[in-house]
């Protein structure tokens, strides 16, 4: 059981600052994910926690105790890598039992503990096999088994699923989440895959160029991202950004006008962008659209089976919408578009930060304006 705190951690490699003044408080028993593109500093952060890297500045605390000077082996944290190192000549049982034998645990409790881990991971029938006789997913489970058998204070995982094929990855996502809940121990998980982060975590820390941009629940990073980067990295297809000008309480775009329905503190920003996710845009063919709908033209249609991604041209701005199949308009045809009011957020183009969110109280109302191409 461990609460993990990072206070002002900086780690440099030569001229490169891999992690920059990072503050993080991971609660005991939490499934915490560090999400970011390659080079964001995720793995370095993990290595600082476990003790494989020494920070240039800042402290690492385990349950409130500073562990900067404690040797990795004595921090009692297990790390699981993408490339698992199993002993190829040992059976699954012996691989899992290895850390216990190293600690000279007695034979009987070794047997009991390995059996228990095998049961949790559902690899009991495989205990007498060698790693070479296992599938990729089974090997991954054995590696996890070896890490959890000695009940460390916390687990760190670095892209553990990225070497698996797509279907297996789906299955392991669910298994890992179950496992962490059953064990009840702190898990810090590193991935570049936003779906893994969203689907498994209690909280997500979005890292970019060594800096933490946002630490929040999956729901919050999805609904109220802090800035453009977070809004783009979470969700697929990514959030649309539509440039608008602010004129007398109106957001003006060549294709529409929208009135601000409540005061928004824009701090003197001149260039703003409406941010809206593709799944929050409804598309109506022809005249069946409600009042305030915006005129658009179908630019590209991408069927995905259950859903269709439609690229819409709104007076020169291309906006992606995800709509249910079937879709009744062809490329080049005019359609009418409605933005879900609560899903419209407002970004300051200069700072790339959001200035207001519509979730609890909608920000804008699209004005009926024939001239601007809005549905009367």
């Amino acid at each position: 059981m461990a609460r993990i705190q990072l206070c002002g951690i900086t780690k440099r490699f030569g001229p490169v600052t891999a992690v920059n003044n990072l503050d993080l408080d991971i609660e005991d028993g939490e499934f915490f994910t560090l999400l970011g593109p390659p080079g964001a500093g995720k793995t370095t952060t993990l290595r600082v926690i476990v003790g494989l890297e020494t920070p240039d500045a800042g402290d690492v605390l385990l349950d409130g105790e500073r562990v900067n000077d404690i040797y990795p082996g004595n921090r009692d944290i297990a790390m699981i890598f993408q490339n698992l190192a199993l002993y190829p000549d040992k059976t699954v049982f012996d691989n899992i039992a290895y850390p216990l034998r190293e600690r000279r645990v007695d034979k009987q409790s070794i047997r009991a503990q390995v059996q228990e881990v095998a049961r949790v991971l559902r690899i009991e029938p495989l205990l007498q096999r060698k790693p070479g006789q296992l599938s990729g997913g089974e090997r991954q489970r054995v590696a996890i088994g070896r890490a959890i058998v000695r009940r460390p204070r916390a687990y760190l995982m670095d892209e553990p699923l990225s070497a698996l094929d797509a279907l297996l990855r789906l299955e392991m996502r669910v298994e890992l989440k179950r496992l962490q809940r059953d064990l009840g121990q702190t898990l810090v998980y590193v991935t570049h895959d936003q779906i893994e982060a969203m689907s498994m975590s209690d909280r997500i820390g979005v890292l970019h160029r060594g800096t933490l941009l946002q630490v929040d629940t999956p729901e919050m990073v999805y609904n109220q991202p802090a800035n453009r980067f977070v809004a783009t990295v979470i969700g697929n297809p990514p959030t649309n950004f539509i440039p608008v000008r602010l004129e007398d309480g109106m957001l003006v775009h060549p294709g529409f006008r929208a009135a601000l329905t409540r005061p928004v503190e824009v701090g003197g920003a001149e260039r703003l962008e409406i941010a809206i996710r593709p799944e929050n845009i409804a598309v109506y063919p022809s005249a069946s659209a409600p009042a305030g709908a915006i005129r658009a033209e179908v630019f590209v249609i991408e069927p995905l089976g259950a859903e269709i991604v439609v690229d819409l041209d709104i007076a020169g701005t291309i906006v992606k919408a995800v709509v249910p199949a079937p879709f009744a308009a062809d490329v080049g045809q005019p359609v009418w578009v409605v933005f879900e009011a609560q899903a419209v957020n407002l970004l300051d183009s200069a700072t790339e930060r959001f200035v207001a969110y519509g979730l609890t109280e909608p920000l804008v109302s699209f004005v009926q304006n024939e001239e601007a191409g809005t549905m009367p």
């Binding site: 669910v174 991408e302 089976g305 259950a306």
Partner: protein, 366 residues
């Protein structure tokens, strides 16, 4: 603009049959995707179209001419691979112009063609940058541009975006579709990613173990999968499958799953099962075609009692992993749906969305 036809094409590598008796027709100007897991024969098929591999048996026709023995250079095909081949010592303009200069085109035309392609791809501002100064994403655009600019008869792409990040891949999907529409050339695209195939192609050839499983439009393969393989491969999250046996003797006819759970049938499904050649079937239902119902006692046709095993919020939607007997059935629900791990619920399969497959042949049943 070239019409491609493969007729009973087989490719053997020693003991391994990479492609088995493949017949396929790609109409002129169409966008076809060869889709399947690694080792399914999709790249070998493309290599035979380009001439890098010769078929062991069968014929390949371009616009009706048999081209089996035509060398690759004469076929007029353009390639883009996952690993872009760019001259790193040249700038972007020279990279794009290379193929045109080899063909000794007049200077003014080279200039015009390169600019047009660069504009199409949004890399005009980079024309004088060295290849080494470009990002991976822009390099792949240059690679694409180099192939487009020489106007090949056929455009072949082998997993061109698989090294790129997810957001850029989604962006390039759209770009490529627009480009293909503009240049109007026949395009063959190899991928293991069903989303790429579904979103871009006019026709998809789903391949497995060297054999063509189905060839049809995105709608065909999603709505009317020919067999279990296609049903499993197309769509994400994947279709759910419940193996069972149709039991019609004694009492209410039902579908008995392998672990003893039974599914009540509606009239329509019962008739379909009556017509099936064997009582051993696999029932298929996509996660998006299941509704979450309250866990009330009253049983109903196609209503299954389940326990929530795990929930996966994905932002726009949530995947519920529900346990029916010993099987996991995935259900797609709106975010915020009240379903907690450990709770019991009922799930209701949308009747006209239920697929049936023969358990032995794995072929779709009517």
């Amino acid at each position: 603009m070239t019409h491609i036809r493969l007729e009973n094409v087989t490719k053997q590598f020693d003991k391994v049959t990479a492609v088995k008796n493949l017949s396929l027709e790609i109409p002129s100007g169409h966008f076809a995707a060869l889709l399947g897991p690694s080792g399914c024969g999709k790249s070998t098929t493309m290599n035979m179209i380009s001439g890098l591999e010769a078929p062991t048996a069968g014929s390949i026709y371009f616009d009706g001419d048999r081209i089996n023995n035509m060398p690759p250079g004469k076929r007029g095909v353009g390639f883009v691979f996952q690993n872009y081949a760019i001259f790193t010592h040249m700038n972007v303009f020279d990279n794009l112009a290379f193929g045109l200069r080899v063909r000794k085109l007049p200077r003014s035309q080279i200039e015009a063609d390169v600019r047009r392609i660069a504009q199409m791809l949004g890399i005009e501002s980079m024309l004088h940058m060295k290849a080494t100064q470009l990002s991976v994403n822009d390099l792949q655009k240059v690679a694409l541009g180099r192939t487009i600019v020489v106007r090949p008869r056929i455009f072949l792409l082998d997993e061109p975006f698989s090294n790129l990040d997810a957001a850029f891949r989604a962006y390039m999907r759209t770009e490529l579709k627009v480009i293909q529409r503009e240049i109007g050339q026949t395009m063959v695209y190899v991928t293991h990613d069903q989303i790429e195939a579904m979103s871009m192609a006019d026709h998809i050839a789903v391949m497995s173990a060297g054999e063509l499983q189905q060839y049809g439009s995105p709608d065909d393969v999603y709505l009317r999968p020919a067999n279990l393989f296609v049903a499993r491969f197309i769509g994400s999250p994947s279709m759910n499958f419940i193996r069972g046996r149709y039991v019609s003797d004694g009492g209410q006819p039902c579908l008995q799953s392998a672990d003893g759970a039974s599914i009540q049938l509606d009239n329509h499904l019962r008739q379909r099962l009556e017509r099936a050649p064997s009582p051993n079937v696999v029932l298929g239902i996509r996660p998006e075609h299941i509704d979450l119902a309250p866990a009330e006692a009253a049983p109903a046709p196609l209503k299954l009692p389940v326990k929530i095993y795990a929930t996966e919020p994905l932002g726009a939607k949530t995947v519920l992993h529900s346990q029916f007997g010993s099987q996991i059935v995935q259900v797609l629900v709106k975010p915020g749906t009240a379903a907690r791990v450990g709770q019991t619920h009922a799930i209701s399969l949308q009747p006209h969305r239920v697929y049936l497959f023969d358990a032995a042949t794995e072929k779709a049943l009517a």
